[in-house]
């Protein structure tokens, strides 16, 4: 079971109810099993009845046990009282049903459990036979890896968030890793990621890096000669999954590292006739221009460069 906690990490941003509802709808389309909401977010969303999809589970993050009766209708309630454990230590957060019966135990933490060391720790947790949901903190950049390891070992569940907001592993990375390991099927649902990302950026007022795994707008840009040559022949040579799977497109960038294949492909794209013998000089000019600008060339600059060479 994968629970997305994105909607518990946005209280500080003062988001509009409409934006939160849009984000909720996008996350619902992802192949996650459950969504977790904070009380302030739910307070904004409850005006839009029915705000919850019947196909998913919904959990509410509460501070006091008594809050359960004030917000009926959830599959479970994560009771996160004011933390009594020091930062970086593991914390146990019970998920209760409306009547107070424990559904599973969330284990938050595991900050220092890095690399392969996680395997033996997880084996011990699995041996207890209890329903444990893992919510690793990302203090040491391993939260996604820990969640994936846990789920592949047969762990009951993991909690994550889009882009890791709130210090969790990243929902999108975990889903893609499980897909590439053959543990989940993806049938178009991941294309909702791009609009979910845009909403997250709008709500937080912060821009995600173009290189952010799975979400970043530049992750399928390709420039280096050796890679363009490979991608032209067979995209899977240098792409772990097709860009369309996550709502992105491959795009060719012309710059210092572009070689023959890239220039020929770009010339074809722009319907410019280019001969093999013109390439060596063209590559040298391209390198000088790119280095001079310290950046990729614009479409217009590339077109001009190719036209000059073709003359």
């Amino acid at each position: 079971m994968l629970t997305d906690c994105t909607l518990t990490s946005l209280d500080a941003y003062g988001a509009q109810a409409e934006s939160l509802l849009c984000l909720l709808r996008k996350i619902e389309r992802l192949p996650v099993d459950a969504l977790e909401l904070s009380v302030p977010v739910y307070e904004k969303l409850r005006a839009f009845e029915p705000c919850m999809d019947t196909q998913k589970k919904y959990f509410l993050r509460i501070r006091h046990s008594a809050e359960r009766s004030a917000y009926p209708g959830f599959s479970g309630y994560l009771l996160q009282e004011k933390s009594k454990v020091p930062a970086e230590e593991n914390e146990e957060i019970p998920c209760l049903d409306l009547y107070g019966k424990e559904i599973f135990m969330r284990r938050r933490g595991f900050d220092r459990l890095i690399g392969i060391a996680s395997k033996s720790t997880f084996e011990k947790i699995l041996q207890t036979g209890k329903r444990n949901e893992l919510a690793p903190r990302d203090t040491f950049h391993c939260a996604t890896a820990l969640s994936v390891t846990w789920l592949l070992m047969g762990g009951y569940g993991a909690a994550a968030s889009l882009a890791g907001i709130g210090g969790y592993g990243c929902t999108e990375e975990i889903l893609m890793a499980l897909y590439l390991q053959g543990a989940v099927l993806l049938q178009g649902e991941m294309s909702a990621l791009q609009s979910a990302k845009a909403l997250l950026e709008e709500i937080t007022g912060q821009q995600l890096s173009g290189k952010k795994p799975v979400l970043g707008s530049d992750i399928f840009a390709v420039e280096a000669g050796i890679h363009v040559d490979g991608v032209v022949k067979e995209p899977s040579l240098y792409e772990p999954y097709p860009p369309e799977l996550v709502g992105l497109q491959r795009h060719l960038v012309i710059g210092k590292y572009s070689g023959r294949s890239a220039l020929l492909a770009k010339a074809r794209e722009l319907h410019i006739q280019l001969e093999e013998k013109q390439l060596a000089r063209l590559i040298e000019r391209l390198q000088r221009k790119s280095v001079g600008r310290q950046a990729r060339l614009s479409e217009e600059a590339v077109r001009q460069l190719l036209l000059d060479a073709a003359d």
């Binding site: 994936v148 890793a177 795994p213 992750i219 840009a221 420039e223 590559i283 310290q294």
Partner: protein, 275 residues
């Protein structure tokens, strides 16, 4: 006492292949000097076969770096090696695609051709008294038995160590650990691990590789690189330091990563906050 691991920085080769980056010789030399000051073991400085700008950069790095070894990257090509030799690097690195997918679809050759060409290139470089390292490109999708066979050949030819490249960034920590462990034991060679961050696991996989016995870890400043980038130097140092001696000061690494942002991305120097 923590076990030592060695940092190989490839910001100036794989990192610079990040679409849109275009460094001149002067910038590359300045960054190499910064890396040398940080105490990285090796700097993969570029691809001399690309031409004069890269060759001038490699020359410059040799003159300003007093501790780090300077490595030149090459395809399986004698012409590439000749162009690298013109810069007198400390180490010649030859990239050898080892997955059947790469051999058949990219090189459009077969395993026999690959082994023969690899032997010719290594023989040529070793014959000129160069230290040689070999990069197994797309190793995470390659057959372990085939890589072990190649590694044994390379060991007998005097190759220093082999790089295991997770070229498309698909490994998990358990997968990285198991593959490195098997290859290291079968080949009896030192291993360098080269991660990509496509699934956000570059740091975790690099630590798992160390735990499996890899000795060298590839990083880039701020994690720049193709697609989602490589293993970020600062993040790796911060995490690996829990178990290993990286020889790099974390605050100095973070400062270096901040310092190069304006060189890598001059147009974005005053960009908005990034999540």
């Amino acid at each position: 006492m923590k076990e030592k691991c060695y940092i190989v920085d490839t910001s100036l080769r794989d990192g610079e292949q990040s679409p849109g980056l275009a460094l001149g010789s002067r910038d590359k030399v300045a960054i190499a000097k910064l890396l040398d000051g940080l105490g990285v073991y090796e700097i993969e400085g570029g691809i001399p076969a690309m031409g004069k700008i890269e060759q001038a950069a490699l020359w410059g790095m040799k003159s300003v770096c007093h501790r780090a070894r300077i490595k030149a990257w090459n395809r399986l090509s004698l012409q590439d090696l000749r162009m690298s030799m013109e810069c007198s690097p400390d180490v010649l690195h030859i990239s050898v695609p080892v997955s059947d997918l790469q051999i058949q679809k990219k090189l459009q050759k077969n395993r026999r051709w690959l082994e023969k060409t690899m032997r010719e290139c290594v023989d040529f470089a070793r014959g000129q008294d160069y230290e040689v390292t070999i990069g197994f490109e797309d190793a995470s999708r390659a057959e372990l038995g085939f890589m072990a066979e190649l590694a044994m050949i390379l060991k007998n030819m005097g190759v220093s160590y082999i790089r295991f490249a997770d070229t498309v960034g698909i490994l998990t920590p358990v997968g990285a650990y198991e593959k490195i462990n098997v290859l290291r034991e079968a080949a009896g060679m030192e291993i360098e691990f080269h991660a990509h961050n496509d699934l956000g696991m570059a740091v975790a996989n690099s630590v798992a590789a160390l735990q499996a016995g890899a000795r060298y870890i590839d990083v880039t400043l701020g994690g720049i690189g193709e697609r989602t980038g490589n293993c970020a130097l600062g993040d790796f140092v911060e995490t690996a330091a829990l178990l290993f001696d990286t020889g790099i000061d974390l605050s100095a690494a973070r400062a270096a990563e901040a310092a190069v942002q304006n060189i890598f991305f001059p147009e974005k120097a005053h960009n908005a906050t990034v999540l």
